[in-house]
């Protein structure tokens, strides 16, 4: 037999490439050899979330394409008056940089987690949470500004009424994701700080042994929130 069936031992040592895909899925065992169940489940959740946000963005595309009324110009709508002149889209640009920075600190937190550096991991996760909270704060400012200018889910002063509905729905859902992420970052950072993953302390909810992989799984969620923002930034704010 060219490729002996692997039943035990080190995962991820089977064939590679397309043959590897076939071997992994037909192995009659866990299909994802190198990813733990926790990581695989987070990925599958993120896949489902991709479809949720995909549907939102498609709904927005459909509304924008099918209205005969002119679409408000996001470049002007989201401009801020700074130093005597209107700077287009500046708040959104700052929010983008803040979220990307939080992704950077999160990636480094994962790295320090696997080096078992409790202190750095917890600090970087808290920094990520602070940047995330800052993002949500700026979003709250943006919502307040638009609402005082008369934007509602059913009308706005500049054009197609669908602008308000899609704006509140898409950015609202994304902001909710960021907020949930911040809460979970704080929870996992506390566990790291307390040393739960060094002594394999069992979780209060799942009763499973804590491992530093929890930091990486948390990171997957956080990077996904950043990833969704990349698409929202491109399609809603820049298009």
């Amino acid at each position: 037999m060219a490729h002996p069936v692997q039943t035990h031992g080190e995962p991820g040592l089977g064939p590679v490439g397309l043959r590897g895909v076939a071997a992994d899925f037909s192995s009659d065992q866990r299909a994802f050899k190198t990813a733990s169940w926790g990581k695989a489940m987070m990925w599958i959740f993120l896949l489902s979330d991709t479809f949720v946000f995909g549907c939102f963005l498609i709904a927005y595309m459909t509304a924008r394409m099918s209205t005969p009324v002119a679409w408000p110009n996001p470049s002007e709508v989201f401009a801020l008056h700074i130093g005597g002149q209107n700077v287009p889209l500046i708040l959104i640009a700052i929010m983008t940089f803040v979220l990307i920075s939080s992704s950077g600190t999160m990636a480094m937190a994962v790295n320090f987690g696997y080096r078992r550096d409790r202190r750095m991991t917890a600090m970087l996760m808290l920094l990520t949470a602070v940047l995330g909270a800052g993002f949500v704060g700026m979003q709250a400012f943006e919502w307040t500004k638009l609402i005082t200018e008369g934007v509602r889910p059913w009308e706005n002063p500049w054009g197609a009424a669908q602008f308000g509905s899609t704006f509140f729905m898409i950015t609202g859902f994304h902001g909710t994701h960021v907020t949930i992420g911040v809460i979970f970052l704080i929870i996992v950072a506390r566990k790291v700080w307390r040393g739960d993953f060094d002594v394999e302390r069992r979780g209060f909810f799942t009763s499973r042994k804590g491992r530093y992989e929890a930091v990486e799984i948390m990171g997957l969620y956080w990077h996904f929130v950043d990833l969704v923002w990349v698409f929202i930034f491109a399609f809603f704010y820049l298009w």
């Binding site: 590897g20 595309m61 005969p68 696997y114 080096r115 704010y237």
Partner: protein, 121 residues
Amino acid sequence: MSETTAHAQSQTVHAQTHTGQQHPIRLYLFVWGLLFVLSAFSYMVDYLGVQGYLRWTLILVFMMLKAGLIVAVFMHMAWERLALVYAILLPPLLVLVFVALMVSEADYTIFTRLAFFGAGP
């Protein structure tokens, strides 16, 4: 003897600490910088007022580059086995089919609106 056992144990622990995704910090900082530059480029597209097909092309190119970097490096997809990569990255392509369906639907809606209600509200 006990020393040997302790040594073996420390080696096991050492091996365990290096499971999972271990990559140099420099790589993350490099990607972080790239994402900053790409975001700045995306913003410049709007700031400089590029319009038309060039605008849409640039927006899509910078978007896909940023998304690719985040998924491949920050989310470690580049180091996962192909089975997971395909299971997660291929299904979203179906969203493109949905997009095609809704483009055709939206074209039909705007056509009927213009045909029956005139050019404006």
